[in-house]
């Protein structure tokens, strides 16, 4: 498949455009996504092509329009909701947790709920405490949802297309610090499949580093730093937070015997704890050091650039942690 070098943001636009062309029952709703094409321009050109019926500006009312996605899905449509900042998922919490995630199950499996909720989150752009969260763990404990996290343009493209074709509710968590990241994307791909587990992005033999979203790039950078010091790090993108299947990570740990999980969230109640717990179960006898988690400190994100940067796990921190495990 020939690829084009495009940004993460453009990859999202391509995925939306191709899938909306492919299936006339798809439509997208969100705040300022029509004529304005989205605050992050993730809906560029969509209203011009598909019209305001299928590319719909909503009131600032996440409960209302996210809940409407359930009604649309039950009556034959494949709605996509864009949540401008992932932080606003909280406004639609009841609709997602009690409605969207459970409706198919409660009907005895008799209805389908093909819904995509795209939420753009993450720190690094100085948006302060209410506009910088990744929200990765907020819905982590909700059966009936799938949660995926693209960490580069290719994944943003392929995963979103697969999510739109999936017959289940999928929460796609995108990262605003990645929107301008460039990479090769196989634009025009016909066949796509939902990822079912983590993906190894770089092979290594001494330590396994697992991350999501922006932490994947930082883990890859850490692997470069470690390579310079003769340490071979394997880097894995967790990709799918729910249903969580850590088999790939456990198999990696069986080869490297050391594990670090990097998560852009506060230290408690996040997916990195689940990864560590499941890897302990699957690969306990292969661990040669206590698994390490690197997270944000247990505080909201600050605005001032120096403060925000200090909160985020840096490649240097990740590399230093790896070395301490190998001491």
């Amino acid at each position: 498949m020939p690829t084009q070098d495009i940004t993460y943001r453009e990859a999202i636009v391509f995925a939306l455009q191709e899938e909306m062309r492919r299936d006339p029952t798809t439509l997208i709703m969100g705040e300022d996504i029509g004529e304005s094409e989205g605050p992050f321009k993730t809906c560029q050109g969509l209203m011009a092509e598909f019209g305001s019926a299928r590319v719909r500006d909503t009131p600032i009312a996440e409960t209302g329009f996210v809940g409407a996605c359930l009604g649309l899905s039950l009556t034959g449509y494949r709605p996509i909701a864009e949540i401008m900042f992932a932080d606003f998922l909280g406004v639609a919490f009841d609709q997602i947790v009690n409605g969207i995630a459970k409706h198919r199950f409660m009907s005895g499996g008799k209805v389908k709920t093909p819904i995509v909720i795209r939420a753009i989150g993450g720190a690094g752009l100085r948006f302060g405490a209410q506009h910088s969260q990744t929200a990765e763990s907020w819905m982590l404990s909700v059966p009936g949802l799938k949660i995926i996290c693209p960490s580069n343009p290719e994944q943003a493209y392929l995963m979103l297309k697969a999510a739109i074709r999936d017959d289940n509710p999928v929460l796609v968590l995108e990262h605003k610090a990645l929107l301008s990241m460039k990479g090769p994307v196989p634009v025009g791909t016909e066949e796509v499949a939902m990822p079912t587990g983590p993906k190894i992005l770089r092979e290594g033999s001494d330590v396994t580093i697992v991350g999501s979203l922006a932490m994947v790039g930082r883990s890859l950078a850490a692997a470069d730093l470690l390579a310079a010091d003769g340490v071979s790090a394997e880097v894995i993108d967790i990709q799918v937070l729910r249903p969580l299947d850590v088999t790939v990570v456990a198999e990696s740990v069986k080869r490297t015997n050391n594990l670090i999980v990097v998560e852009e969230q506060a230290p408690t109640g996040g997916w990195s704890s689940d990864v560590v717990a499941d890897v302990l179960t699957q690969a306990f006898d292969y661990l040669d050091s206590p698994p390490a988690r690197i997270t944000l400190p247990d505080h909201p994100l600050p605005y001032s650039p120096g403060l925000e940067d200090a909160m985020l796990p840096s490649p240097e921190t990740i590399a230093a942690t790896a070395k301490s495990l190998l001491e």
């Binding site: 209302g64 809940g67 409407a68 359930l70 009604g71 009556t75 009690n98 499996g109 008799k110 059966p143």
Partner: protein
């Protein structure tokens, strides 16, 4: 703009006037709901119904009156007090009982339960256990109807308690700004769970709420089935023609407590007595007899017939198998 107080029966304006046969059928529909709920109460005491259940005795005229105004391809969403809405749309009594009993032949295979009866083939898109949770979903079904352009409508039943939650306001606003074919049917029974409306809401006439959204609105006697039908019929006609949503406030009363564990002792006995005198089924029975469409014997026969039908349906449902925990019920989470 039409927030009318106490509309007169607008029978001359109704797009599709009721025939005498329709009227008898409406009576049957209400009696069927009542006898179903009475049997639920008996079955609950026999231990066949699990957890809790929310009976709609007293609300029958709203369910039956609105259903009479709908087409088979319309969408209906409702609440945990939703048995009546489902039966009025033709849900099979045995499948409903089996669901309440948690059996495999239940309309949702025993997975949903009393609060979550769903039957997508009858346009019954879902019952919502969270107060107000169904309104945004009804808006989505309304958007679907608008996009499909087949003159369908989406009806959302909810109670007075829901009028105070955010989902209500967001839904009313979206439906009106997008001119969606949605009927917001508020069954104002004066009690949000255990608390009377005057403790929770600045006024008792919720039709006032619609004004804030510039929405067509009407207040009806929710215990008068023909008045409910007329209002719903006009609202549906407006919606099908692209005229947007209507808010219908149906004043009614909950004969029993909020749920099976609630004896409803917080109500003034005088208030209860007043409303029981205005039982929608008693009122309509008198009306039909007065109009010569039914005599007492025929009316009694209908009650007896539906009572035994409910009993027989419950008996058959109770004989249904339990769902097997080692079967594929967990596979129903994902498609």
């Amino acid at each position: 703009m039409a927030a009318r107080k106490k509309s007169a029966k607008p029978s001359n304006q109704v797009p599709d006037p009721l025939t005498d046969d329709d009227r008898v059928e409406l009576f049957r529909s209400m009696v069927g709901i009542r006898e179903f709920e009475e049997q639920v109460q008996r079955s609950y005491l026999e231990g066949l119904v699990h957890g809790t259940t929310h009976l709609c005795n007293g609300h029958e005229a709203v369910s039956s009156g609105v259903a009479q105004a709908l087409r088979p391809d319309d969408y209906v969403s409702y609440t945990y007090r939703g048995h009546g809405h489902c039966l009025a749309r033709g849900m099979d009594m045995e499948a409903a009982f089996a669901e309440l009993f948690g059996r495999v032949d239940g309309v949702c295979g025993g997975i949903g339960g009393s609060m979550h009866l769903t039957d997508i083939d009858k346009g019954l898109i879902g019952a919502f256990g969270i107060v107000g949770g169904g309104l945004p979903v009804a808006v989505g079904a309304g958007l679907s109807a608008q996009l499909a352009n087949k003159e369908q409508v989406s009806v959302s039943f909810f109670g007075d308690g829901a009028a105070n939650i955010g989902a209500f306001h967001e839904s009313m606003n979206i439906a009106q700004v997008w001119k969606l074919p949605v009927l917001f049917v508020c069954e104002n029974n004066l009690y949000g769970e255990f608390t009377r409306i005057n403790h929770t809401t600045p006024y008792e006439d919720l039709v006032i709420r619609a004004r804030g959204y510039a929405m067509e609105a009407v207040q009806v006697d929710g215990n008068d089935v023909e008045e409910v039908y007329a209002a719903a019929s006009i609202a549906a006609m407006r919606a099908r023609g692209g005229g947007g949503p209507t808010f219908i406030e149906a004043k009614t009363y909950r004969h029993r407590g909020h749920s099976r564990t609630d004896p409803a002792k917080y109500r003034d006995p005088a208030e209860v007595e007043e409303w029981l005198k205005r039982d929608p089924i008693t009122l309509y029975r008198k009306d039909l007899i007065a109009r010569g469409l039914l005599d007492a014997k025929a009316a009694d026969a209908i009650v007896a017939e539906l009572q035994s039908e409910a009993k027989a349906a419950a008996d058959r449902a109770a004989a249904s198998e339990w769902p097997s925990a080692d079967q594929d019920f967990m596979a129903k989470t994902f498609a």
